[in-house]
Symmetry: C2
Subunit: 352 residues, 2 copies
Amino acid sequence: MPAQIRIALDAMGGDHGPSVVIPGAAISLVRHPDLAFGFYGDEAVIRPLLESRPALAAVSSVHHTDVAIRMDDKPSQALRYGRWKSSMWLAIESIKKNEADAAVSAGNTGALMAMARFCLRTMAKIERPAIAALWPNLRGESVVLDVGASIGADASALVDMAVMGAAMAHIVLGVERPTVGLLNVGVEEVKGLEMVREAGRILRETNLPSLDYIGFVEGDDIGKGTADVVVTEGFAGNIALKTAEGTAKQIAGYLRAAMSRTLMARIGYLFARGAFAALREKLDPRKSNGGVFLGLNGIVVKSHGGTDAEGYASAIDLAYDMVKQDLMHKITESLSFDHRAAAARASNADVA
Amino acid sequence: MPAQIRIALDAMGGDHGPSVVIPGAAISLVRHPDLAFGFYGDEAVIRPLLESRPALAAVSSVHHTDVAIRMDDKPSQALRYGRWKSSMWLAIESIKKNEADAAVSAGNTGALMAMARFCLRTMAKIERPAIAALWPNLRGESVVLDVGASIGADASALVDMAVMGAAMAHIVLGVERPTVGLLNVGVEEVKGLEMVREAGRILRETNLPSLDYIGFVEGDDIGKGTADVVVTEGFAGNIALKTAEGTAKQIAGYLRAAMSRTLMARIGYLFARGAFAALREKLDPRKSNGGVFLGLNGIVVKSHGGTDAEGYASAIDLAYDMVKQDLMHKITESLSFDHRAAAARASNADVA
């Protein structure tokens, strides 16, 4: 029997807690029979949900705790009352104890990042962890990072993100040497923030073996799918992600209004029902649910707080893929190529 | 006869030059018979286009120059060969000479901003000019700034933008005291970049009479229409704008593909043609074409470079409204309320 992939689940995280987490795990288990789960949270709620799912129960353990992190607590508050004992903390800690290969939580993002940093620590060569999102585009999908952890990241952190994002894209997209673009306000080398220009210079000059740096990309390149990996600092990345979500909802709203406006439109809608279903599926945010925390000594995946069981299963699937295809090893390997030294050499050559 | 609104047009700007600029002016003139135009550019191309439009020709003057700014030149290059003599420069300069009330160009944004700053200078209390865009949302429209001029703006520049954006929203949306939100990665006061938090503190404490500060907003609030004015630094603002444009194109692409996939979908499309036309109109980027440069001693509007005559006419309409309803005066008036002193007072009160 091959080794199981062990995922720790913060059963209390998210808007719906165990009522989404447990059915989500059941869905993911059907797709990946080599999964095993540790559920962290209120045993009295978790057990009954497991009992009605014997296949899931057979590969699951339950770890009781009364403490759950609230969705609107500040990270510092959450750490204060939730460290060592909350369902979120215990799920993360199980990675450190080698009782799990990855953790998934739909809880408070800030608290999850704070606890993951505190518990797992950043990888040896990484200064700042990042959150990477899968972003659907016209050509398929891309990895966009950072979508909110590294507010004000510098050039060196952006280069680290390029390396980590490429390792993730290698797994998710199955591309040997993913293309990487730096998000900027123009494609010319003279444009944008100094840190972005500097990161571009380092990536160009070091020409890393694990990724194909294609230069600056702009906001509209994300939807086009110009690059497999789009790298940006956390403030702009978070705003880009949420603006895109907002725009998608806005257009869906326009479309709904247009299709119910006249009788002819409603008849048209009936004929084209299949097409609208396909469109809805294409735009389904549950399909690409899951932000991967990169740069920590362990794999932590953040699910959307408001998602349903199907969406939660996508987040588990993502964690599964990252473990199965050894994300941690791929990042370590890429980082062992010392890009800073290479950049310094390239830079000195410039001066000489 | 009431005073005319005089608009200077850079006839050579944009991807299509006079073949879009002159028909665009003709469209706008029908809507606003009190318009008058100065066309700056190649007389040999402009004259024939005017001759076939006698109503437009009757309110227009032509100012010949051989020099046109190229779309891909750096601002420094453009200034070097285009200052004093290019069609772009001359259109801007006509404001300074009081031969026009506003200028419109579809040319190179960076060059246009550099020339406008050089020629018109920033307003007395303004440190950095900004570009404000009209952004369609589920409730109507909002003013979003800065979408690309003030890369790395500080707290004080963000406060100036709030004031200027509110003055513009007052005109465009007809709201007495527009609501203003600061774009951030969360709505809590502890979140985000220091400069954004500081700007939030100033806006909250000064409680300006010209605007209603509602706190931080996130990327998805732009599409929802949570605030009349959304303020952000130019890097994040440009990325938000282009990401939204990219997302809209992406969804339009999905929709087209879905509607042509099956016979039933194509039949449905035929029935719902009117609804799709309404949707297209709703998403038509030409309707909200035009970025207004704020903070200069004069009104300059940037049209999209690739737009058609209809889109160009929207940019002229926008310039017309700004002049007609006296944007410059509204900004000066708002700025005469010394928000920095008020903030200092509020801050001292905090300490005491």
